[in-house]
């Protein structure tokens, strides 16, 4: 009897201990979560402050409008970017970024959405089993590999297609657009598939039950019902395209001049920052690159705001 009592007591005290340590553990884990959550916030805050601290004064010194949209004329020549002479204008980089992103969207979005429809609705199961992992693999390829692919396959093809006339040797806006179109596909496809699959089956049944065909059902009911998700996919695709650097540097040609045709060599903002940062002299030159970063940052912010707006409004 005594023994039994003893064991009961020790059991009870053990339970007490356990619950005490459990409470401590709980608190500890909560702290860990909190610290982890802070890391992301601290990072974004630090990056933002750093970019604005470095680039902001430079932007004000050059003049915001002058920096973003101006040009300098000297002796009948138009100068855009001459760090030696303290001439800093990024209008061509802004335009190049916008053009290649638009181009990538024009090519990539329809292909991406149609692929998503195919995988979500039309393809037989065995084909889906091949295509979905393939698309996911596409998302996992490092951007430098895309750039390399562009450099050895796309660029020469463009050079040939233009009859070997291009000064840039095929390095061009078109090459960047083609590579970016491919790079944004996984984002657009995967999110669009999720959006299409989230459409209630009742919509599909309702449409088919009236004698609409499968294709009519897809385009008239399912895609409209999935439109907020598809918009989100497009915006994330734009974000990826406008922020892409490595692949673009390798194929775009990187000339600082006004883009006038898709065969022109162009230098978008991301490529500009990456190319000059390695040799920029401290001072206005280096800080003007941070200022370029601010412009890029604001572009991405606007996209995110648009994304939030769309997912909240269109979904209703």
């Amino acid at each position: 009897m005594e023994r039994v009592d003893n064991s009961n007591i020790s059991q009870a005290s053990l339970n007490m201990k356990k619950s005490k340590s459990t409470v401590l553990w709980e608190k500890f884990v909560e702290k860990i979560f909190f610290i982890s959550a802070c890391m992301a916030i601290i990072s974004i805050a630090t990056i933002t402050i750093f970019i604005f601290a470095k680039g902001g004064p430079a932007m004000l010194e050059i003049g915001i409008f002058n920096f973003m949209f101006g040009t300098t004329e000297l002796g009948g020549k138009v100068y855009l970017w001459q760090p030696g002479a303290d001439i800093y204008h990024i209008i061509t980089m802004i335009l190049s970024s916008i053009y290649i992103t638009l181009g990538a969207i024009i090519i990539g979005v329809p292909i991406g959405i149609l692929t998503a429809v195919f995988i979500a609705e039309i393809a037989p199961k065995w084909l889906v089993k091949i295509m979905k992992p393939a698309v996911e693999l596409l998302a996992g390829i490092p951007s430098v590999v895309y750039g390399f692919f562009g450099l050895i396959i796309i660029v020469p093809m463009i050079y040939e297609a233009y009859g070997r006339q291009l000064k840039g040797g095929g390095n061009s806006m078109l090459a960047a657009i083609i590579i970016l179109s491919i790079m944004i596909l996984p984002t657009i496809i995967n999110i669009s598939i999720a959006a299409i699959k989230a459409v209630p089956i009742e919509y599909k049944e309702g449409s088919l039950a009236m004698g609409a065909t499968h294709i009519q059902t897809i385009f008239k009911v399912m895609i409209p019902a999935a439109k907020s998700g598809i918009f989100a996919a497009v915006i994330l695709g734009i974000g990826r395209a406008i922020g892409e650097t490595m692949a673009v540097i390798l194929v775009a040609g990187n000339s600082i001049k006004f883009p006038t045709s898709i065969s022109d060599s162009v230098r978008p903002m991301t490529a500009h920052i990456a190319l000059e940062m390695s040799y920029a002299s401290p001072g206005l030159h280096e800080n003007s690159l941070f200022a370029t970063g601010i412009v890029l940052f604001v572009f991405i912010m606007l996209l995110n705001i648009a994304l939030n707006f769309i997912t909240h409004k269109v979904g209703e």
């Binding site: 209630p200 009742e202 919509y203 599909k204 049944e205 309702g206 449409s207 088919l208 039950a209 009236m210 004698g211 609409a212 065909t213 009519q216 008239k220 009911v221 409209p224 019902a225």
Partner: protein, 251 residues
């Protein structure tokens, strides 16, 4: 002898290895309401879906036997698109599309190639009137259909189904998600609709079957146990199992 709109002969349906319908033989009369009753899982919903081939959407479904619509085998002689235009369906859960009331009703006719605005306007009004929802909908044609109440949505879905001018209207537990008042309105509506349409309705509610149907078919575990005039089924069924079910001894 009344006109038989649909004749089902020796119908068997399998989901993979599971046999969901066993040797079903039914005649469905033109411009009458036929109610399908039975406990959950008895096959009544599966059966109604064979009448416009909605089971085609489910993988692994195998069907043998004949379903004749006006003497044509719908699994052999009739194109599925044309079949579904002739045999419309209203579902358990109201499922208006997330678009305007007008576009919902015009959806079917547009799918079948009607483009002219004046014709569409006419079809929309006529369908909404037939489904007894015109008064509530006429000032909200451009508003999103999802803003309607459940009962209104279901009548809108009936209007949408009527807009393609079907001959048969299948209703799969159309009032199970609705409150008693909305249910009453749909029941009244079916009375009007049977003047023009052949109606087949699946219902969980025996009272509903008793109130609105002319014929009743009782399903149990994939078998059609008994079919006949609703009055007879409810007052003097031939089969003991029908009587047990109707008097509430199971199900």
């Amino acid at each position: 002898m009344n006109n038989m709109k649909i004749t089902v002969k020796d119908l068997n349906l399998y989901y993979g290895d599971f046999q969901a319908l066993k040797n079903i033989n039914i005649d469905i009369e033109e411009r009458k309401i036929t109610a399908l009753i039975g406990p959950s899982g008895c096959g009544k919903s599966t059966f109604i879906k064979t009448l416009n081939r909605m089971n085609d959407l489910i993988e692994g479904v195998k069907i043998d036997g004949n379903v004749m619509l006006d003497g044509e085998d719908i699994y052999k002689d009739v194109d599925v698109i044309k079949l579904r235009k002739r045999v419309g369906m209203v579902f358990q859960k109201p499922n208006p599309f997330p678009m305007s009331v007008y576009d919902n009703v015009a959806y079917g006719p547009r799918s079948h190639g009607v483009k002219k605005k004046s014709i569409l306007d006419e079809i929309v009004e006529k369908s909404l009137r037939s489904a007894a929802i015109w008064d509530e909908a006429k000032d909200r044609l451009k508003k999103n259909a999802l803003g309607f109440s459940g009962g209104q949505q279901q009548r809108l879905c009936i209007a949408r189904a009527l807009a393609v001018e079907p001959e048969v209207l299948l209703m799969d537990e159309p009032t199970s998600a609705l409150d008693p008042i909305a249910t009453g309105r749909i029941e009244e509506l079916t009375e009007d609709l049977k003047k023009e349409y052949t109606i087949v309705i699946v219902t969980h509610s025996m009272q509903q079957a008793g109130r609105i149907s002319d014929k009743t078919a009782f399903f149990l575990l994939g078998d059609l146990i008994e079919m006949g005039d609703t009055k007879k089924i409810f007052s003097n069924p031939d089969d003991k199992r029908t009587e047990d079910y109707i008097t509430g001894r199971f199900g």
